[in-house]
C-alpha cells in the first residue's frame, strides 16, 4: 500500500511540471482568448467593457474579414490538394521504382522544407519578378506577355505555388515512411494477377497507408493556417489592397490598428472554431475500416 502511494506520488511529481506548464501557457491563454472576445478592450488600456457577442456581430459585417477567411479556406483547399497529390505520387515513385539518383531526389525535394519562410519568399520574389523573373522570361520566350504574379488577380495562385513547393518534401517523407512498410509480396502477387503500376498504387498503396493520409490531412489544415500567415506576411503583407490577406494576419493587424484587442480575439475564436470544425469534419469524412497486413 505504502509503496503504491509512493509510486503514485512519484508519477505525480514527474508529470506535474509538464501539466503545470501546459495549463499556464496553453490552457489558460486559450480560455482567455474566448473570454476577451466578449469584451471591448484596447491593447494598452486595461479597462475591459463587456459587450457580449457584439464583436462577432461586427465580424459578420466586416468585408475584409470575410475576404481574409475566404482566402484562408481557399489556401487550405488548394495547398492540401496539390501538395497531397504531388507528395503521394513522388513518394510512390521513390519507394516503388528503381531510379538512378533516388537519394539525390529525396534530398532535393526535402530542402525547401528546411529553408526559412523569409528565404523562400526572397527566392520567389526573384522568380515572380515582372521584368527579369524566371516565370515571365519563360512566358516571353513563347511570345506571351508577362504576368503580374503578385498583382490582385494572381496573388493567391503565387502564394499556393510557393507554399506547395515548400511543403511537398515534408509530406513526401511521411508518405514514404508508411509506403516502405507495405510488404512487397502484395505487389508481387498483384502483378501476377495482371495489375499495372497505377492500379497497384490506387488499390494497394493508398488503402494501406490510409491512416497516415488521414493524419496528414489534419496537419495540412493546421499548418496551412499558420504557414499562410508567415508566407503572406513575408511575401505580400496582405496586399495589394487585402487581395492576399488571411485571417491570422487580419487578426494581428486588427489588434494594432482597427478594432482593438477584443475584436482581434473574436477573430481568433472564429479561426479556432473553424480549424477545429474542419479537422473534425475531415476526420469524419475520411473514416474507413483500417486494413491490416
Amino acid at each position: 500500500m505504502k509503496s503504491n502511494f509512493k509510486r503514485t506520488g512519484f508519477i505525480f511529481l514527474c508529470v506535474a511540471p509538464a501539466v503545470i506548464l501546459f495549463a499556464i501557457f496553453m490552457v489558460a491563454p486559450t480560455f482567455n482568448v474566448f473570454r476577451l472576445s466578449l469584451y471591448q478592450r484596447s491593447t494598452f488600456n486595461p479597462n475591459e467593457v463587456f459587450i457580449g457577442l457584439k464583436n462577432f456581430e461586427m465580424l459578420l459585417k466586416d468585408a475584409t474579414f470575410i475576404r481574409s477567411m475566404q482566402n484562408m479556406l481557399l489556401l487550405i483547399v488548394m495547398v492540401t490538394v496539390f501538395t497531397m497529390a504531388t507528395a503521394l505520387v513522388f513518394a510512390g515513385i521513390l519507394t516503388r521504382e528503381k531510379l538512378r539518383g533516388q537519394d539525390f531526389f529525396r534530398i532535393v525535394f526535402y530542402i525547401p522544407n528546411i529553408l526559412s519562410v523569409v528565404v523562400i519568399s526572397g527566392i520567389f520574389s526573384a522568380i515572380y519578378d515582372i521584368d527579369r523573373g524566371l516565370l515571365n522570361s519563360i512566358l516571353n520566350l513563347f511570345g506571351q506577355e508577362g504576368i503580374l504574379w503578385k498583382g490582385e488577380q494572381h496573388v493567391i495562385m503565387s502564394l499556393v505555388i510557393a507554399m506547395v513547393w515548400q511543403a511537398i518534401g515534408y509530406y513526401m517523407v511521411m508518405y514514404m515512411a508508411s509506403m516502405s512498410a507495405v510488404p512487397g509480396s502484395l505487389y508481387e502477387s498483384a502483378s501476377l494477377d495482371g495489375a499495372d503500376r497505377v492500379t497497384q498504387f490506387f488499390q494497394i498503396t493508398i488503402p494501406l497507408i490510409w491512416t497516415n493520409i488521414r493524419t496528414t490531412l489534419t496537419f495540412f489544415i493546421i499548418s496551412t493556417i499558420n504557414m499562410a500567415f508567415l508566407f503572406v506576411s513575408a511575401m505580400t503583407g496582405g496586399g495589394p489592397n487585402n487581395a492576399s490577406n488571411v485571417a491570422l494576419l487580419y487578426m494581428y493587424n486588427q489588434k494594432n490598428l482597427g478594432g482593438g484587442y477584443g475584436y482581434a480575439m473574436a477573430i481568433g475564436v472564429v479561426i479556432f472554431l473553424v480549424s477545429f470544425g474542419l479537422s473534425a469534419l475531415v476526420n469524419k469524412v475520411t473514416e474507413r475500416e483500417i486494413l491490416e497486413y
Binding site: 494598452f44 461586427m58 520574389s125 495589394p240 489592397n241 494594432n256 482597427g258 482593438g260
Partner: protein, 449 residues
C-alpha cells in the same frame, strides 16, 4: 563526449538568455557635472527607448551620454529596429519607459494605440522648460507649425502630447538628368503634369509610380493643400461631412483617378514590403517619371544609384491645383508615457533633444531636428531637398485626426490601400469615393476630440 556536448548546449542556453536580457548601456560620461550631482544625491536613472532607423543607433548613445554629462541624470537606453516588439510586452504589464522615440504611421501603430488609450503625458509644460545647458526655452527653438498640428496635439484641445523630432520634406522624386536630356520642364500645375504624362507615354515612360500605397499619405496631404489649402485639408482629415462631395473633394478624386491611369501598371504588384524597391527603381532607370517619397530615399537607394550612369536626384513639390505647390513635412515624434516613473527627468531629456549639442549629433547622421537654424548643419543633396520651402513650395503638416477603435476600419486601409486596386482597375473611383465617405462618417463618430 556526450557530457561535453550537454554542457556546451547548456552554456548556449544560458548565454542566449543573457543576450535576450542585455540592454545597450550608454557609456558613462566623463565630464565633471555628473560627478557633482552624484555627490549630492543618488542619481536618477531614466529609461529611454528609441527606434533604430536609417539614422542608426549610435546617435542615441551619443545624445544619452551628452545628456548624462550635462544633467547628471543617468540614461538606460534601449534601441531596436522593431521597438514595438520590445516595448509591447512590458507595457502591457505596466512597465513603461520614461521617454520613447517612435513615430506615428508605422504598421504596428503603437503610438496611435497610446493616443487612443489616453496614455501619453501632456508635454505642453515641457515646451516652456529651459533647454539644459542653454538659456533658451524649448518652444522658442522649435520651428513654427511643429507643435500645434493634429499629430502632436491629437485631441484638438491645444495641448501638445508629442515632441516633434527629425523632419524630412516629402515630395515627388525624379531623375533630374532624364529631364535635362529630354528638355522637359518639371510641372508646377496638374495641367502641365497631364501634358507631360502624354509626352512621356509617347516615349513609353509612365508618368507616375509609388513604392507602396502607404506612401500616398504624405502625397495626399500635400495634394489636399494644393487643391484647397489648409481649410480643405482640415475638412478631409477631421472627417467633415460633405468634404468629399465639395468641389475640392471632386477635384481630389478626379486627380487620384487620372493619376491612377498614368501609373505604371506593374506598380501595385510590387507595392509590398518585399518588392517596393523595384518600384523605387522605376523613376531612377527611366520606366516612370515621378514617385512620392521622402529625403531618406537617397540613402535607401544609394547602391542602385551607383550602378546608373545618367542619374541625379531631383525633388519637386506636389503641383498646385487651385492654391500653390505644397510639400508635406514628415516628422517623427518622441513622447513620455503618462505612466512613466520619472516624469520630471524625462521632460528634461525631451528638452535636451532640442539643444545645439543634441541637434549636432543627430545631424551628423542626417537626422534633422525641427529647430531654428538647422539649415546651417545640412550637407550634400540635403541642401537641395530642405530648401524646397525657400523655393516657392508651401509646407503641409498634420495628418488624420485620431479616433477610437472601429472594428475593421483604419486610416491606411480606407484612404491609401485601395489605390492599389484603383491602379489595377479592379475598383472605380466611385467605389473609392463610396468607401472613403462611409468610413469617414464612422471615423467622425469615433473621433477622440
Amino acid at each position: 563526449m556526450k557530457k561535453f556536448f550537454a554542457l556546451l548546449l547548456a552554456l548556449c542556453m544560458v548565454l542566449s538568455l543573457c543576450a535576450c536580457g542585455a540592454k545597450e548601456e550608454a557609456p558613462a560620461p566623463a565630464a565633471a557635472p555628473a560627478e557633482k550631482a552624484e555627490e549630492a544625491a543618488e542619481p536618477v536613472t531614466i529609461k529611454v527607448a528609441a527606434i533604430e532607423t536609417a539614422y542608426g543607433s549610435q546617435v542615441w548613445v551619443d545624445v544619452a551620454a551628452a545628456f548624462e554629462a550635462e544633467t547628471g541624470i543617468k540614461v538606460e537606453l534601449t534601441t531596436d529596429k522593431n521597438l514595438e516588439d520590445v516595448l509591447t510586452g512590458p507595457m502591457q504589464n505596466g512597465e513603461f519607459p520614461d521617454v520613447v522615440h517612435l513615430a506615428t504611421g508605422r504598421p504596428a501603430g503603437l503610438t496611435e494605440q497610446l493616443v487612443k488609450a489616453n496614455a501619453l503625458h501632456d508635454l505642453t509644460n515641457t515646451l516652456s522648460l529651459t533647454i539644459p545647458g542653454e538659456d533658451v526655452k524649448v518652444a522658442d527653438k522649435i520651428a513654427g507649425g511643429f507643435t500645434d498640428n493634429n499629430i502632436v496635439a491629437p485631441y484638438g484641445d491645444g495641448k501638445t502630447y508629442m515632441a516633434p523630432m527629425f523632419y524630412s520634406p516629402c515630395g515627388l522624386f525624379y531623375n533630374a538628368k532624364l529631364f535635362e536630356d529630354k528638355g522637359w520642364e518639371v510641372p508646377t500645375t496638374w495641367d502641365e503634369m497631364w501634358e507631360l504624362g502624354e509626352t512621356a507615354k509617347a516615349e513609353g515612360i509612365a508618368l507616375f509610380t509609388y513604392p507602396t500605397a502607404g506612401y500616398y499619405d504624405a502625397f495626399m496631404f500635400a495634394l489636399m493643400n494644393a487643391i484647397g489649402g489648409p481649410e480643405f485639408f482640415n475638412a478631409i482629415t477631421t472627417y467633415e461631412e460633405g468634404a468629399w462631395d465639395s468641389e475640392n473633394g471632386k477635384t481630389l478624386l478626379n486627380i487620384l483617378d487620372k493619376l491612377a491611369s498614368y501609373t505604371h501598371p506593374s506598380t501595385p504588384a510590387q507595392a509590398n514590403n518585399q518588392d517596393f524597391t523595384k518600384n523605387q527603381q522605376m523613376p531612377m532607370n527611366g520606366s516612370a517619371l515621378f514617385m512620392p517619397n521622402g529625403t531618406w530615399i537617397t540613402g535607401e537607394m544609394a547602391d542602385y544609384a551607383a550602378t546608373l550612369d545618367n542619374f541625379a536626384w531631383g525633388m519637386t513639390a506636389v503641383p498646385a491645383a487651385g492654391t500653390a505647390p505644397y510639400s508635406f513635412c514628415w516628422f517623427e515624434q518622441a513622447w513620455i508615457p503618462a505612466a512613466a516613473e520619472h516624469i520630471a527627468e524625462a521632460e528634461q531629456f525631451v528638452a535636451f533633444l532640442y539643444s545645439d549639442a543634441a541637434a549636432k549629433i543627430f545631424a551628423s547622421a542626417g537626422a534633422m531636428q525641427p529647430i531654428l537654424g538647422i539649415a546651417d548643419m545640412l550637407e550634400g543633396e540635403n541642401v537641395m531637398f530642405y530648401s524646397i520651402y525657400d523655393n516657392g513650395a508651401k509646407a503641409a503638416m498634420g495628418g488624420f485626426a485620431a479616433f477610437g477603435e472601429i472594428p475593421g476600419v483604419d486610416v491606411s486601409g480606407t484612404f491609401f490601400a485601395p489605390i492599389d486596386s484603383l491602379v489595377a482597375g479592379t475598383i472605380t473611383i466611385d467605389d473609392y469615393a463610396e468607401l472613403v465617405k462611409t468610413n469617414s462618417a464612422l471615423m467622425a463618430a469615433a473621433k477622440l476630440s
